[in-house]
């Protein structure tokens, strides 16, 4: 039996275990709790450890320790919980440690609600912690991708020695779809020569640290990190195109919203409207080059999000004034309907 039926949250957990993750540190929060629940059941069976910490802050610092020791480890939470983890994420980035942080987004700000949202785009791509830092941010759009991008996130984190984030939402976390775990490619990964896993008297001791007494040293370390970031931007941009070849109207949407956009595009294509979709799979690095190219042929862009408009800023930067960029979104836990998005497409078709 190659396929199984899973919730998105379970698919993340199973994919992580299949990818060799042996430590999970978390704290329950709807709508991601099934990740921890699944880990609690499965990890002990593969000699791993699932630990419910006393808080999100504790969990992220445990993750830093496990990662420093060279193991594959992760944490998961939902929006307010990720805010609590932000200090730790910054430390992990400052220590050049690879790990996976999952955010199954819910409505905010504050305690917000438990329904799905994409309101943490800014947080994930801009302000996930203090300091000059980036995360590799992957945005799955199906339960299959919840699994495949989890595996990919671990590999990317190891390759570039930096934390990666899987930015999902409550709908993807809760919905069920068939998943095939037999199709993930394996990367060649660098050896973790920096890990603090015991010298055995054979090498000098490794130090994992984000504190620098001399600002020149700190600047050097940041510049070296940014050289790696530049390589990520050059080599690791991922996106999906849907009917963009002849499109006058390009929708840009990620995650669950991209699937709604696809349905709306298919509906309006029947009416002769040439719409297409660019779905960023990596939110950082953002597919800005591709969007810039599309701006040469398309007439107008429409960013569709479950927020008041966050990714639209990146779309505008990428399009760079060549074409108008519009926005449509629902927020607070409301999922836009196919009809609403189709209506926005029709409006643009009339105007341009």
């Amino acid at each position: 039996m190659s396929k199984v039926l899973m919730k998105g949250n379970e698919a993340i957990a199973e994919a992580a275990i299949a990818a060799g993750c042996v430590y999970f540190f978390g704290y329950p929060i709807t709508p991601q709790t099934e990740v921890a629940e699944y880990m609690a059941k499965r990890l002990p069976k593969v000699s791993g450890l699932c630990l419910q910490a006393e808080s999100e802050v504790a969990a992220i610092n445990m993750l830093m320790g496990a990662s420093a020791a060279g193991t594959r480890a992760m944490t998961s939470s939902s929006s307010p919980g990720v805010s609590l983890k932000s200090e730790g994420i910054s430390y992990i980035a400052g220590c050049d440690l690879p790990c996976l942080v999952v955010n199954v987004q819910r409505g905010g700000p504050g305690l917000g609600g438990i329904q799905p949202s994409q309101q943490d785009y800014y947080q994930a791509t801009r302000g996930v912690g203090h300091g000059d830092l980036r995360l590799i941010v992957l945005a799955p759009s199906s339960v299959q991708e919840m699994a495949s991008l989890t595996a990919e996130a671990f590999d990317l984190a190891d390759t570039y020695r930096m934390p990666a984030m899987l930015l999902a939402d409550g709908a993807l976390g809760q919905m069920m779809e068939p998943v095939d775990f037999s199709v993930f490619p394996k990367r060649e990964l660098p050896e973790k020569t920096w890990a603090t896993n015991g010298t055995k008297g054979e090498r000098k001791k490794n130090i994992v640290n984000s504190l620098f007494i001399d600002p020149n040293e700190l600047e050097d370390s940041i510049r070296a990190r940014y050289e790696r970031y530049a390589k990520v931007e050059a080599d690791e941009v991922r996106y999906e195109e849907y009917m963009t070849d002849d499109a006058d109207i390009i929708l840009v949407a990620f995650g669950i919203t991209a699937r709604i956009a696809k349905s709306a595009i298919a509906d309006t294509r029947k009416e002769g409207i040439k719409a297409g979709l660019l779905r960023p799979i990596t939110l950082w690095p953002f597919p800005k080059k591709k969007l810039g190219e599309l701006a040469d042929t398309a007439k107008v862009f429409l960013s569709v999000e479950m927020s008041m408009g966050q990714m639209v800023d990146d779309v505008r930067l990428a399009v760079n004034g060549k074409r108008p960029v519009h926005f449509f979104g629902r927020t607070g836990g409301i999922i836009p309907s196919v009809e609403e998005v189709a209506a926005e497409i029709r409006k643009l078709a009339q105007a341009y």
Binding site: M1, K3, V4, L5, M6, K7, E10, E14, T30, P31, Y38, K41, G113, I114, Q115, G170, A171, Q174, M175, M176, E177, P178, I256, R259, I260, K262, S263, G333, I335, V338
Partner: protein
């Protein structure tokens, strides 16, 4: 199908994601034909899943003349199993048929608040399994899950529902391939196999495939898909 398995109070439980809600909604629709003349109620006691639940199927239930009993705050941010008070009155009523959809695994603990009344009234408890759900794909694990549910609600499962499916991707072959799984789960759980579920929308030729596979006598339960569609 053995009609006698359906009683005035019929409860649906199972591992989360096995397809309880879909089955419960369809069981309520079927109950209208088994008990013509009696009002049928469908109660949503799911405290585990705030996203996909019976409350989503209210229009479908009303269309079939079924009375939905849903928590006052279903699908909001204060979703708790606060069923209307008339739920209590339905337990033990011989003039009503009530189908109760409870939450997965330990979610069935919410059922415990009615336990004494349910024991006095008599009940059926359908235990739903699905071989495509990894944590109950092994019949032995399905038994473990059943025991967990029975412990949480203090009631005994009375019949097994084999709802092995891959959602919209389910094929006729998938259903035939899972017949032995359903039988084995029922045998190990020590309860009768009530039915194998199939969705004509996704696998229209299931009866034909079952016959060809030598399973012509197996009880088949057709359902309409009642799961909320997001896009």
């Amino acid at each position: 199908m053995d009609n006698t398995q359906l009683r005035n109070l019929s409860i649906v439980a199972g591992h989360y994601g096995a397809g309880k809600t879909n089955f419960a909604v369809n069981l309520a629709i079927w109950a209208k034909t088994v008990f013509p003349g009696l009002p049928v109620h469908a109660a949503d006691l799911d405290i585990v899943n705030p996203y996909f639940r019976t409350a989503d199927a209210v229009p479908l239930l009303r269309e079939h003349g079924i009375d939905p009993l849903i928590p006052a705050f279903a699908n909001t941010n204060v979703d708790i199993p606060s069923l209307p008070p008339r739920m209590r009155g339905l337990i033990g009523s011989k003039n009503d048929v009530t189908i109760v959809d409870v939450g997965g695994d330990d979610g069935s603990v919410a059922l415990g608040m009615y336990r004494q009344a349910i024991l006095e009234a008599g009940y059926s408890l359908f235990y739903v399994v699905n071989r495509f759900r990894p944590l109950i794909a092994d019949p032995e694990d399905a038994v473990g899950c059943m025991i967990e549910i029975e412990r949480a609600c203090g009631l005994r499962c009375t019949a097994l529902v084999n709802n092995s499916n891959l959602g919209a991707e389910t094929t006729e072959k998938d259903i035939v391939d899972c017949v032995e799984y359903g039988r084995e789960c029922a045998r190990r759980c020590g309860i009768p196999l009530f039915c194998h579920v199939w969705c004509p929308e996704y696998a229209p030729d299931t009866p034909l495939f079952m016959e060809k596979g030598g399973y012509a006598e197996e009880p088949l339960f057709p359902i309409v898909n009642a799961t909320k569609r997001l896009f």
